[in-house]
Symmetry: D2
Subunit: 303 residues, 4 copies
């Protein structure tokens, strides 16, 4: 049994914390709103009112927050993790943030005697609920091995990809690929519909060949039905593509299609669709093709 402080019980964090409780750990939750904290306590967890309180006695501190400034906000300062956690404890950051911020956290943690491992996840809410997340882990060997049992309680694929910050780099690559796959699928759907092909049948056969992908498998039905309930919101993917663009620029890596997809995601958000699922790229490609959204009022609403 490990004593864990878990900061951030959102859509992803709440089920992740629950799996840790289920695995027999002592999990003290911290969250801005109290509803999910209540459920966490009902599920057998504990609660704290502040980060400082939560981390004081924890062996491991886990953060699962939306963006770089959120993590910096709880990590630094007199009330933060590094000022209050015990020397020798481990900070496991599962948020998706900028790789350079991940590296800075590791350096700041080291000064306080706290090991830092970045462990962003892929797989969405479903993956979190089913403990089937893919987790990309950056940090020192020993620290990663120490974190592994906890990570394996939350995910089905846990891979150590390099030193601190590397997990974030791989997550950025993940978001680059996924944005591109969504845009390409959107283009293919509009192309097929514009040619009056049986698009559902076409996607079936495309999925069986070299064009097959997890995005096609999990998103095509929702896209055909124009059901864009999130899922993963455009706003968040837009944030991530900002990370991708900057990180690529930092190392001189050309990302022609990635930069293009970032423009499309930014447009989708600028048009007011930040709250839709990222598969709503279909809406944008449809508009660029001068096509009215199909009436899908009677369509099935699978995702």
């Amino acid at each position: 049994m490990t004593s864990i402080a878990f900061i951030g019980l959102g859509i992803m964090g709440e089920p992740m914390a629950a799996h840790l409780v289920d695995a027999g750990h002592d999990v003290i939750g911290v969250n801005r709103s109290s509803e999910s904290l209540d459920r966490h306590v009902d599920h057998g967890g504990k609660r704290a009112d502040s980060v400082a309180d939560a981390v004081a006695e924890a062996e491991v501190v886990i953060t699962m927050l939306p963006d770089s400034p959120d993590v910096e906000g709880v990590a630094y300062g007199d009330d933060g993790i590094y000022a209050n956690a015990r020397s020798g404890s481990l900070h496991l950051d599962c948020s998706s943030i900028r790789p350079d911020v991940g590296q800075q956290l590791a350096a700041a943690g080291a000064k306080a005697g706290i090991a830092v491992v970045d462990a962003p996840v892929s797989g969405g809410q479903a993956g979190a609920v089913e403990a089937k997340l893919s987790i990309m882990v950056g940090g020192d060997d020993g620290d990663v091995e120490r974190a592994r049992p906890l990570l394996e309680a939350m995910g089905s694929t846990v891979v150590h990809v390099g030193p601190a910050g590397s997990g974030q780099t791989v997550k950025a690559a993940n978001q680059l690929i996924v944005a591109g796959h969504l845009a390409l699928l959107a283009e293919a759907i509009v192309f097929l519909e514009a040619h009056d092909v049986d698009t559902a049948a076409a996607l079936e056969v495309l999925g069986g060949g070299l064009a097959g992908s997890k995005v096609l498998e999990t998103k095509a039905a929702g896209m055909l039905a124009r059901n864009f309930d999130p899922g993963f919101r455009v706003d968040l993917h837009h944030k991530d593509l900002g990370i991708v663009t900057t990180s690529a620029r930092d190392v001189g890596a050309a990302i022609p299609l990635g930069a293009h997809a970032a423009q499309l995601m930014g447009s989708l958000r600028a048009k007011g669709h930040g709250d839709l699922d990222h598969s709503a790229l279909l809406l944008l490609v449809e508009q660029l093709s001068g096509r009215q959204p199909k009436d899908t009022s009677t369509a099935p609403t699978g995702s």
Copy 2:
């Protein structure tokens, strides 16, 4: 048992014809070079010296040729399929050609009393050898059903997607997606290598999440090893992307990433790499990132 004329015993056509022989059909092959014809006969097939001879008594004529002009060349004219095949026979075109040419073939065949079905395939040489091709079929219902048993002898996924030409349209969408997936994977690999991440580990974890794809599954190892033996050649994918671009333009479909990928594939070809596997897009992205190709002389050479 069906009497079949099979025109085009190339890398794909030869194993496809062999499966038809294995299924008990009477298959008369026609091919420019005689080596594959010899093997076809050894395998239990027959041979003819001309298209006219081959199709004269056939119930079904199958074409498996590189490009639109090749198919037009054997379909039309005094020596061609439609002037020599029997009224009531079926022409099954498995080539990947322009959708509008597919429609023209159907119209020309109809005048000669010959039903035409377009049935381009996806899955590459491996899919052809293992009879696991995905086949996208366009044509009238009755004709497609008549063709289905033969198609199922060659492929594992056979889907009727619409009227004549539709198979080609879906194949075009397939090539659009695949080109984009290859470019994105190339960008991700360069991005990861430039950040000194353990790229092989990273691709493993990417493959387990929403970024997973058939392209990543089948091409990533070869790309990491810089092994670009075809596979599917850049020249052919470039040809196909010309079809995609034109077909999209014809119906006003926006294909922002697709058009971008077409530019990259065209550059790769212009640089003299037309004979490499299309996954060699990695070379181009690497050059755009100012990176030297890695020395992979001691690397494994998987595909």
Copy 3:
């Protein structure tokens, strides 16, 4: 005085023919609709009812038509230019068409003893009316020199750029650059407006530096006022960008921004704006930025 048959008295052709009349030439017009023919006769020109009649006695045949098939339609066939014009006459094609069609015309003309020069123009309706067109001329030296006095009656810049077809190639390059300049100006305007800068003042200072261009000089005021009366229509520029894309592909020339601009122009057309001035690319960039078109009901309507 030269005897000239002028085929195509449209927005551009009518004033061009008028300049030739003014220069003292004998100009027989041919046109589908009769209104412009009536004006041509009023201006001192002659008329003919058919291409065959018009060209029978002409020393020079000029064509000014919308697209490749239009020129082919009047050039070839029993009723066409090459079957009816005199051996030794000169065909001067001022239309903007595919370079390869320009080369085919030259070859077909040569068989009939007719010299062919391609001489597409830039400068729009204003340039045609004021005889200030830029004319890019392809053909043999002697033929071009023979055509020069006529071209100089219609334009202020007449440059021989290479053999037959070269004029069309240069016109394609012109349309590539202009489309890109329009898109970039649209992006700059949206960028400036979104930052609440005094955009008119900003464009003034941009025009005085390295960002200055003829497009900014002649189109910015209309764009700021959202006045998109043509001018040069989106439909025609879209047609020209098809020529650019294909011609670039034929020689392996990478045109990354050009291909991108072609996608944007195609989208603008697909959205139903084919009849607007090509500077309406601003509408598209505005929509991609989630911005409502400004209310310009009280704005000045310069061009």
Copy 4:
């Protein structure tokens, strides 16, 4: 006569300061290397060893530095402008930096009683030497009018475009357009050369029509001769395009061609060409087209 502290006597700053001396002002220079300071003194200027010394008695402080951190470095801190300049003095920042940094400078200056005006310039070294810069000015009306006589001593076009930071925003738009124009010209040149057109003649006629631009006018000859001596370096334009991309993202402005041009400029730099003139985008487009750089050893080397 105004007492001026001029910080940054580089390629641009040195001639700008000289014009102020020529206009009768008292100009105290500060610079890291002393060579240009020596020339400044020879020309009638004065020198100071530190920013603090230079600004102590100045009525106006001018900064002309490479990037945002450089300006922040001399503006802030105990040794900086705002801690040492007199209340009531004016800080005129002619550097090209991030618009948000420009706004922060204005706010920090205001606290110290120092008015801040941003006044980035366009026109390159030639424009600086000939006092023909275009200057885009952001700040309060009164401050801008106070600065105007000094700006008019250095430039020929001085336009007030909005509040503090606006000058930087307009400069960003300038760099967006210029990068795009260079890329498009590079594409046109490769397109024309690949078609064996007389490219110099073609550019002459293009320059006379709607494709004409300052970039074509000033850069085409150098590009045809493959003379890429700077001029304005790729490194700096790459920096500026980072500002453009971020600023566009901040306000949701779509910049499809701009983002694309930024990728190309980044590639050119990654390939090791950061020290060449930005017109070297031609090299990149040439490589993307599989073309060898032309042997221009005997070509004229104009710029």
